[in-house]
């Protein structure tokens, strides 16, 4: 566990370095991942809170496979979709902010379980795409593990090109289909 998470961390930081070295054509997110989610107060201290009427949940909620986390007095639904380049399984930097929020939530609540569903676009062969989808889901898994999520909280399943998010045989549809979905159980 210790070794593999260190290895995961090294992998992620190497990837980050490589990415930092490239000039990216994607829209840039702020460079420093702003971790806006404060650790939620534990259940034991809830009695001391002054506002028992508040509608904001104190704990994250799972709804339709998505995670809704408290954010100040409001809530935020975490984005669970992460996209990849053709025949690539590198986690894009544009997704780091959101992945960090997932990691934070799963670290705070060890009972949270996710399925990381890897997908590919229709080009190429089906079995190769199954392997590629698994690579992608494993890359997300390694990233989250490096952020402190336990391996036992995550299950990887690849659907390859079998469950496209978008129909159509063009780059627009393909880009939407090369993805990993984080699905909360």
């Amino acid at each position: 566990m210790g070794i593999s998470s260190i290895r995961g961390m090294v992998l992620v930081s190497v990837t980050a370095l490589l990415l930092a070295g490239c000039t990216s054509t994607e829209q840039e997110e702020p460079d420093v991942a702003p971790v806006t989610v404060e650790p939620t107060t534990t259940a034991g201290t809830a009695g001391e809170m002054r506002e028992p009427e508040t509608v904001a949940p104190r704990r994250p909620m799972v709804q339709g496979g998505n995670l809704i986390v408290p954010l100040g007095d409001a809530t935020e639904e975490l984005q669970g979709l992460f996209y990849f380049d053709f025949d690539q399984a590198i986690v894009k930097r544009v997704g780091h902010t959101e992945l960090n929020k997932h990691a934070m939530a799963m670290k705070d609540d060890r009972s949270l379980r996710v399925r990381l569903e890897g997908h590919a676009d229709e080009r190429g062969t089906r079995e190769y795409n199954l392997a590629l989808g698994e690579r992608r889901a494993n890359a997300i898994r390694a990233y989250l593990q490096a952020q402190g999520v336990l391996g036992s909280q995550m299950e990887v399943i690849s659907y390859g090109e079998e469950k496209p998010a978008a129909m159509g045989h063009n780059e627009q549809a393909w880009a939407q289909n090369r993805r990993v979905e984080i699905v909360y159980k």
């Binding site: 025949d87 190429g124 089906r126 079995e127 190769y128 392997a131 990887v156 079998e162 998010a165 045989h169």
Partner: protein
């Protein structure tokens, strides 16, 4: 004559089942196609049968791309036996060969078919045979006649008595229905062997033609490899390891099943001994290794790997696990299988960004693109080694198409509904008939 034609049409309509069949459209035939006339078989002491055998033979020989069949409406006479043939009638029509014969009842639910292949030029019977079958086997009898005629005239083993297994996906994206189907090689007589709301893929035949293996996600959305006996309909789940369970491929002796598992961290090739259920790891590499297929002698496995950065075809020898790279042309070569004579490989080959089916001649080291379509995948070779069937995209639909290894013959099998994909040609002909000694 008109009466016969309309009777034929009625018969065809009657046998068309509710399920969507695959139609056949020949898109390219050989230039010097043999001109042949399949004369409607004479019905002796029997009315119209549920299947018109001569119609089946006509369809088979037409789709082979090597024959030009004469429409019944152009025939000047309809002989039922050789002594009724007026060779001049057929010479006038430029017909080189005739297939003719007669059907008669042969006991309870049985029919006897006597058929002839007649050489118009020599004015002689080139072949004469009789077979017997049940009402349910009429279509099989037709395929049998096609095989015999095809073999006699081309010297190539016929593949009309083979079957094709394929997957269909229908319905909207969020509510897909998957089916695993088996049909005659001409697309008729579709039988659904599995329905699921979760993906089905990589279906493959055991060499005996009685069992099939496939990957299904039916078990809680997780992939597993299943083995199904087509006769008893018994299904066994062979694997459900963590991670990938995919790409099953039978050895040619049917005793071993190669597959892809990622239980040890990476997609690697494994071989499962089906007798003692022992699992042997074959490849050990951090890259993707997938899509195993056996060489005809079962001594090596051909597979796809991106160990060189891009997917390419490699071969691993089972005795010493030595690995050799086989493809160097193009930046995407995948899902290769070896021709029965070991002379070459067919595979998915990307050229200028388009996915085609490629044929690599292993003796000359030359890659030929066999298809003009795009997004081509899943090539599967006919048991006679002369044709292959593959999946391609036409408009918004996945369809099946076939091409001869020399590229000379092409046909499509469009379906009226849904996506058709992953064809697998059965390994051998179904032997249902023995010629009756005369």
């Amino acid at each position: 004559m008109k009466y016969i034609v309309s009777l034929l049409v009625v018969c065809v309509l009657q046998v068309a089942p509710a399920r969507a069949e695959l139609r056949i459209e020949v898109t390219k035939g050989v230039d010097n196609a043999v001109r042949i006339a399949i004369v409607p078989f004479e019905m002796r002491r029997t009315g119209a049968l549920p299947t018109d055998i001569s119609e089946v033979v006509t369809r088979d020989l037409t789709l082979s791309g090597r024959f030009e069949t004469l429409p019944v409406s152009q025939m000047l006479s309809l002989p039922g036996q050789p002594d009724e043939i007026f060779p001049r009638d057929w010479r006038l029509l430029d017909v080189e060969y005739l297939v003719l014969g007669s059907m008669e009842p042969a006991g309870e639910g049985q029919y006897r078919l006597q058929f002839f292949l007649y050489n118009v030029f020599n004015q002689s019977v080139q072949l004469s045979q009789a077979i017997q079958g049940t009402t349910e086997e009429l279509r099989d009898m037709g395929h049998y006649v096609s095989d015999v005629v095809f073999e006699n005239l081309t010297g190539i083993d016929g593949a009309f008595s083979t079957r094709i297994m394929y997957v269909t996906a229908t319905g909207p994206i969020e509510d897909r229905q998957y089916q695993l189907n088996i049909a005659d090689a001409d697309g008729a007589r579709v039988e659904t062997i599995l329905r699921s709301r979760e993906p089905i893929l990589s279906a493959t035949w055991a060499p005996d033609g009685h069992r099939v293996a496939y990957v299904s996600f039916e078990n809680d959305g997780r992939p597993a490899i299943y083995l199904r006996d087509l006769e008893t309909r018994m299904v066994q789940q062979l694997t459900s390891f963590r991670g990938l369970n995919g790409a099953p491929a039978f050895s040619s002796d049917g005793k071993q099943l190669a597959m892809v598992l990622s239980k040890d961290g990476n997609p690697d090739i494994y071989v499962l001994n089906l007798d003692n259920r022992r699992l042997r790891r074959i490849t050990r590499h951090y890259a993707i290794d997938t899509e195993p297929s056996w060489t005809p002698d079962d001594k090596a496995i051909v597979f796809t790997s991106n160990r060189g950065g891009k997917p390419q075809i490699y071969m691993i020898t089972l005795s010493d696990l030595s690995v050799e790279r086989l493809t160097f042309e193009g930046d995407y070569n995948a899902k290769a299988s070896m021709l029965p004579d070991g002379s070459g490989l067919v595979m998915v080959h990307r050229r200028e960004g388009i996915f085609h089916i490629g044929h690599l001649d292993l003796r000359r080291g030359r890659m030929t693109v066999l298809t003009e379509t795009s997004l081509d995948e899943s090539p599967s070779i006919a048991p006679n080694g002369s044709m292959l069937i593959y999946a391609t995209q036409v408009g918004d639909n996945g369809i099946l198409a076939a091409v001869s290894i020399d590229g000379g013959v092409k046909f499509n099998l469009p379906s009226s509904e849904g996506d058709v994909r992953e064809p697998a040609w059965s390994p051998k002909k179904r032997v249902l008939f023995e010629p009756i000694a005369e």
